[in-house]
Symmetry: D2
Subunit: 111 residues, 4 copies
C-alpha cells in the first residue's frame, strides 16, 4: 500500500478555519489521495460496464471486492494520517474529547 | 435496501454464450443495479471534493464508510440474484462444481 | 486451515429426524470440529488469565483477534461442509427455499 | 452493550512494572470483563454441544455468529478503555509512538 509521504503527516493537521475544523494535507499528500480516488472511480465505472455487458455475476462480485479493498486501503491511509497528526495534536493541546470522536470512527470501520 | 425485482430473479440467469458464461439480467434489474452504481460513483466523486476542500479527516472517513456500505448493499443484492438463479440452475443441472466457485466468492466477502 | 475430510463432506448431510432437520457429520469430521472448539475454549480462558494478570490492553486485544480468526476459520469450515452437502442435496430434491436460509446466514457472516 | 464503568476508565491505566507495560483495571472493571469472558466461554461450550448432538449446520453457524458478536463487543470495550487511558496518558507524556502501536491493533480489527 503506497503510504502517505510520512514527513508531511506530522505537519500541523487540523486547524480551525472560521470556527470549522479543517485538514491541511500537503499538495503531495492530496495528489496521492486524489489519484487513489480516481482509480476507485474508474473501477466503479468498470463494474457498471460489466453489468451492461451481462457479465457472469461471480465475475462482477470479484470486481466489487476489488473496489472494497481499494476503499479499505484509502480509509486506512487517511486514518493513519489523521491519528498521527490531528489526534496527537489535539490530545497534546489537552482536548481529549477527540478520543470519543476517533472511537466512533474506528468502531464504524471495525468488523 | 431496495431489492431486485424478485419476479425477474428466477429468470434463467446464466447461459453459455459462445462458451462464455453470461448473466441475463432483465432490463428492470439492470436499471436497478446501474442506478446504484451511478450513486456510488457520485459518492466517490464527493469524497474527492472533500479532500480537495481540506475537509476534516474524520468527516472524510465518515463518507468513505457510506461508500463502503453502498458497495456492501450492491454486493449482497447481486449475490442474492446469483444464488437464486445461476446457483440453483447449475446444481439442478447436476453441475455441483458451482458450489466451489460460490464458496470462493462468499469467503472473500466474509469478515 | 485444516480442512474437513472431503470424502465425508458429500455424505448425506441433513435428514429429518422426527420432523427436525439434523446434520450427520462423520465421526472424523466431528473430531476435527470439536478439537478446534477445544482450542478456541482454551484461547478464551487464556484471555481471561491475561485480564486477571493486568496484561497491557494492546496485548489482550491481540489475543482477542486470534480467537476471532479461529472462530472465522471454524465458521468457514462448517459453511463449506454445509454448502457441499445439505445445500446441494436439498436443491437437487427441489427444495430451493434452502437458498433463502443460506442467504440469511451468508449475509450475517459478510462484512 | 454494558459499558465499562466510565469513572474508572480514566484511572491511570498503564504503568511500567519492572520494565513491562501493565494495565491497571479497577476491580469493578475486571469483574465486567471477566463476566463477559465467562459468558463467551459458555457459548463456545454450547457450540460444542450442538456439534455433538448433530445439530443442523445452519443453526450451529447462527451460534458461531453470536460468539463472534460477543467477542467484537468485548474488543470494542477494551479498545475504548485503552484509548481513553493508556493512549491519552502516553501521548500527554510525549510518547507519540503509542499511535503506531494503536494503528496496528486498529487495522487488524478493521474490515
Amino acid at each position: 500500500m503506497e503510504n502517505l509521504p510520512v514527513e508531511t503527516l506530522n505537519e500541523e493537521c487540523c486547524h480551525t478555519d472560521k470556527g470549522e475544523r479543517k485538514s491541511h494535507h500537503s499538495e503531495e499528500q492530496k495528489k496521492a489521495l486524489i489519484s487513489r480516488l480516481n482509480r476507485i472511480e474508474g473501477q466503479v465505472r468498470g463494474v457498471k460496464r460489466l453489468i451492461e455487458e451481462d457479465t457472469y455475476c461471480d465475475d462482477v462480485l470479484t470486481q466489487i471486492s476489488a473496489v472494497q479493498s481499494a476503499l479499505n486501503g484509502l480509509g486506512k491511509m487517511l486514518l493513519e494520517g489523521h491519528m498521527k497528526s490531528c489526534i496527537v495534536e489535539r490530545i497534546q493541546d489537552g482536548d481529549t474529547e477527540v478520543i470519543d470522536e476517533l472511537l466512533v470512527t474506528v468502531k464504524r470501520l471495525m468488523k
